[in-house]
């Protein structure tokens, strides 16, 4: 079924309230509800946690926007209770400036996303839209699961899959591929397909993505989610993954609030970054001046012949990447070749073959282990 049609239908018939906003700042409440109402959503507001919880119990909103800092019941407490009383609601946390840590904490408690004040109206609408689509999915899956109790094992799994997908989805992965995955899982749930194995496989794939994004998060945390640490973050990502995968870049773009375009500009400008997977081992032939006058081009031909790849290429098994570099600062040994972190003074063909072979052997042993 077409997702947007389905959501529109639901909204009109069964779910009167789309968004509930809980915040102690009146101006904020007004601004948000106006934006969302203009966007065609049904909105209610509450000024504190107690009031909000009551309203949520009555009207079962799909998405709840809540401030972390409020007098009385704190945002984190509210979040904990909310997820218990109304598990189908999708909570979105709103934080003030510089409280990224508590936002991360709230994500652990089940918040779907967080918005840092001040934010653009577009950002709000976008977050709510994604929240709503996840909420619809959650409800559908629950409904389907309830109707088919005799097969609850399978549904558990499906629901788990959906949760995982939902999480990946909440990470902001607006990739066609992920949407397709969601649609696929939905149809699985609906038609009780039997391909448990496939679901598991997909679940694993999505879990992998999730883990990668968590690693990216850990790296950004190291730099306090500072925008100006972008190059340092990318260097760490490059070191960890040996390239800059697109989904990680879009994740960073969302987290650090930097347009993806700018991230690509930087990734293209600096030599250290690669937009394709590099090999597990890097072989650098220095073409600095000292190496050039001592015959670096001959060395390059020799290395290239041993590896069977040209400069700038990675072999098909992603074992080795051959690069030229303008001076690695080891000029007295010219012409010099760097293999991983080891330097070699104009290695002969047999020396190169020996080193490459030992690296390949290491690789093979690592595979077996």
């Amino acid at each position: 079924m077409d997702a947007s049609k389905r959501r529109a239908g639901e909204r009109a018939e069964t779910q009167p309230l789309d968004v509930l906003i809980i915040d102690d700042e009146e101006n904020f409440l007004e601004a948000c509800s106006q934006t969302l109402q203009t966007g065609g959503y049904r909105v209610a507001t509450a000024k504190n946690g107690t009031e909000g919880l009551k309203l949520a119990g009555e009207s079962h909103p799909n998405v709840v926007l809540l401030d972390l800092k409020m007098p009385g019941m704190s945002g984190l407490d509210l979040l904990g209770q909310l997820t218990k009383t109304d598990p189908s609601a999708v909570p979105v946390v709103v934080t003030g400036h510089g409280t990224v840590d508590s936002a991360v904490e709230s994500m652990k408690l089940g918040a779907f996303d967080f918005l840092t004040k001040p934010f653009e109206p577009e950002k709000l609408l976008e977050t709510v839209r994604r929240g709503l689509s996840l909420s619809a999915l959650k409800k559908e899956a629950q409904a389907a699961g309830a109707a088919e109790e005799q097969r609850h094992d399978k549904y558990d799994l499906l629901l788990q899959g959906l949760d995982v997908l939902g999480e990946a989805y909440s990470l902001g992965l607006e990739k066609r591929q992920l949407l397709d995955e969601l649609a696929y899982l939905e149809s699985e749930a609906r038609y009780h397909a039997e391909s448990l194995g496939q679901i598991k496989k997909k679940e694993r794939a999505i879990l992998d993505i999730r883990n990668e994004l968590r690693e990216a998060d850990a790296i950004m945390k190291k730099y306090d989610f500072q925008k100006n640490a972008l190059i340092q973050v990318l260097l760490d990502i490059q070191e960890k993954f040996r390239w800059l995968p697109r989904h990680i870049l879009s994740w960073i773009s969302g987290r650090l609030n930097i347009p993806l375009r700018e991230i690509y500009v930087i990734a293209n400008f600096y030599e250290a970054f690669s937009l394709e997977p590099r090999g597990r081992h890097t072989i650098q032939v220095c073409t600095g001046t000292a190496c050039h006058v001592r015959g670096a081009s001959e060395t390059l031909t020799r290395v290239s012949a041993v590896l069977g790849i040209e400069a700038g290429q990675t072999d098909s098994r992603q074992q080795f990447t051959l690069e030229t570099v303008h001076c690695i600062g080891c000029c007295a040994l010219a012409p010099v070749v760097q293999i991983d972190s080891q330097y070699y003074r104009d290695p002969s063909r047999s020396k190169l073959e020996k080193v490459i072979k030992s690296l390949e052997k290491e690789e093979a042993q690592a595979c077996l282990a």
Partner: protein
């Protein structure tokens, strides 16, 4: 270890360390610089430790892994202190003999001593070896004595005493005045007086102010900054702190090239240890002055070594230069006054404060004071890092310290100043090495790369090499640099392929003039220097390529062909095995020939052919039959 709260604490600590060190009679200093590591210095140091342990000499002899000693050509280097006995190219198997020699004065170590070719004598002491004898090592002197990963080593040789002196008895103005009086000029390239730069930042409006170490040593052929930061990171840090004190900055950055992982590790370690001892952070040595430093890794872009570009990179943006109507010393990092100096410049500051401006002014020429480190590399016998007083003639560096050209070849030129510099021919070898003198002859001091070229280096190819490098590294923001380099490269490639015309040389001159006048930053403004200087001093070589389609250095592959001289060939087959493309043919009666159609001219056969035969020879390409005439292969309208 507890924080040092006052300058007196520091002195007390120093005395304690020295007393502890004096308990050992001797130290084995194993060079653990990048060059020596490549020769296996680490296993060598391990071997020393083992042997000393085995003989029960641990109380008497210590082993220290030090920074670069400079004589990288002959690594791994081992120096026994305090006698300064120097062993070259030592291997683990030589360890027992070296220890015998150190303990008893007897040991079979002759082969590890420097052989003076003129007298035939073996020279055992560091100061006797010509490579060291003619140098004046001020900045590099401590590299031999300290382990970069240990702040105590630095304190033991007098480290941080300049900082203590400044913080306890000098006003920031007095520190600034001392540096100004010393006339310390920037070691990174331009030679702008550091004191004046500092003063501009000090007086500029805006808080906070920043101080930055430029360790983005991008010039190919230069590695002195790497060795300083790897070998003696605290000297750079102390200089930076003194600068911050004089300028009034509270935060500093060290911008390190991504290609220098060891320099980064050592710098990070230095920061950590300095913080631990209260030499960095809040209230340094109880003076009330607070200062801290962060490390920023570069991500590989030559142009990011330019000051405004480097600051953009620290801000997390693309490292492109901006027009400098307002200098970065007034509006730099995040629009705040920022003082950027090169590694070597900062490293000089503690010594100037410690020993005084007059001591510094006693070295060098009238306008260029002090010493300068050069990386003496290329076609020279003793490659390595050399530190000499400003004003020493080029000839002394290349022939006295460097030992001249290897393999009996003839000297042709020396290139200084990296891609922004130029070549200097033999006729100018008596030129004193100093900022203004080098600029006058169309080269520059640059960061200190000194690449020696012999008769087998083609000057047109050298110019093409630099322009290719710069065309690759130009950020492309301004037209003169981006397009000018592209056109120059096209012309030079044409000449190296034998398709050049004489009027190309005029076009090159014209382009050079235009680029120098109109480019946005120093990269573009100085980009034509390699072409201009080779054209000035080696025009004949260009004309030889154009008129005769010949490259007498045998470098431009399009103009040469490899052949096997049948009279000399002993049919050993080395060339056949070396050839990566199977272009060497072996007939039934063992006659080896090179199939020109298959040959990619990589030179593997030339290198493989044994020296005693030298049967593979380079000949001008036009002498080979079946080779289409060079001009005929030029596609119509090709740029």
């Amino acid at each position: 270890m507890s924080r040092l709260e006052t300058p007196a604490d520091l002195e007390k600590l120093r005395e304690e360390i020295i007393a502890g060190r004096n308990a050992k009679e001797k130290w084995v200093a194993v060079c653990a610089g990048t060059g020596c590591r490549a020769y296996g210095a680490e296993t060598l140091a391990d071997a020393f430790e083992e042997e000393i342990e085995k003989r029960g000499l641990s109380d008497r002899i210590g082993v220290r892994r030090t920074g670069c000693h400079g004589f990288c050509e002959r690594g791994p280097l081992v120096v026994i202190q305090p006698s300064d006995a120097c062993f070259l190219g030592a291997q683990p198997k030589n360890v027992p003999a070296i220890i015998d020699k150190a303990v008893t004065g007897e040991g079979a170590t002759d082969k590890l001593l420097y052989l003076d070719e003129d007298s035939g004598k073996r020279l055992g002491n560091l100061d006797e070896i010509p490579f060291y004898k003619y140098q004046k090592r001020v900045l590099l002197a401590n590299n031999v004595r300290i382990d970069a990963a240990n702040i105590l080593d630095y304190i033991a040789v007098g480290g941080y005493s300049a900082l203590a002196k400044a913080l306890s008895g000098m006003t920031p103005e007095a520190v600034l005045e001392e540096v100004k009086k010393a006339n310390l000029r920037g070691r990174g390239g331009g030679g702008f007086p550091a004191g004046i730069k500092w003063e501009t930042t000090r007086k500029a409006q805006g808080e906070p102010k920043y101080v930055i170490v430029n360790a983005d040593e991008g010039d190919p052929g230069a590695y002195m900054d790497r060795s300083l930061l790897e070998g003696n990171p605290h000297s750079v840090l102390e200089g930076l702190i003194l600068g911050a004190y004089a300028i009034g900055a509270s935060e500093g950055f060290i911008y390190v090239r991504q290609e220098y992982p060891l320099a980064r590790t050592h710098a990070a370690k230095a920061l950590e240890q300095a913080r631990e001892y209260g030499l960095l952070g809040k209230n340094l040595l109880g003076s009330g002055f607070s200062f801290d430093v962060k490390i920023h890794r570069g991500a590989g872009a030559f142009v990011s070594g330019e000051s405004s570009a480097l600051m953009s990179a620290i801000e997390g943006r693309v490292g492109e230069p901006r027009p400098k109507y307002i200098r970065t010393s007034e509006k730099g990092l995040w629009g705040k006054p920022s003082c950027l100096n090169n590694v070597e410049t900062w490293a000089y500051v503690p010594q100037i404060i410690d020993k005084g401006a007059d001591w510094f002014r006693s070295m060098g020429t009238e306008k260029s004071k002090g010493t300068k480190i050069f990386s003496l590399v290329g076609k020279v016998k003793n490659t390595g890092l050399v530190e000499v007083p400003m004003g020493i003639p080029l000839r002394d560096i290349i022939f006295k310290i460097g030992g001249g050209i290897p393999n009996g070849k003839k000297f042709k030129a020396v290139q200084t100043g990296g891609p922004s510099g130029g070549v200097i021919p033999e006729s100018l070898l008596d030129l004193p090495v100093a900022f203004d003198e080098l600029s006058q002859v169309g080269s520059m001091m640059g960061s200190g790369g000194m690449i020696v070229m012999d008769e087998n280096t083609c000057m047109v190819d050298t110019a093409r090499y630099y322009i290719n490098f710069l065309a690759h590294e130009s950020c492309g923001k301004c037209v003169p640099c981006r397009e000018g380099l592209r056109q120059m490269l096209a012309i030079l490639e044409r000449i190296t392929k034998g398709w050049g015309e004489e009027q190309d040389l005029d076009t090159l001159d014209e382009l050079a003039e235009f680029m120098e006048a109109a480019s946005l930053c120093a990269l573009g403004q100085s980009a034509p220097f390699p072409v201009a200087s080779t054209l000035k001093y080696f025009r004949d070589e260009y004309l030889e390529h154009i008129r005769e389609k010949r490259c007498s250095a045998g470098v431009c592959t399009a103009l040469i062909a490899y052949q096997i001289d049948q009279e000399r060939c002993k049919a050993c087959g080395a060339c056949l095995r070396a050839c990566p493309v199977g272009a060497v043919n072996k007939s039934e009666d063992k006659v080896f020939t090179i199939v020109q159609a298959k040959c990619i001219k990589c030179g593997a056969c030339y290198t493989a052919c044994p020296d005693k035969c030298r049967a593979v020879i380079k000949v001008p390409a036009y002498t080979i039959q079946n080779q289409p005439a060079a001009a005929a292969t030029l596609p119509a309208g090709k740029q």
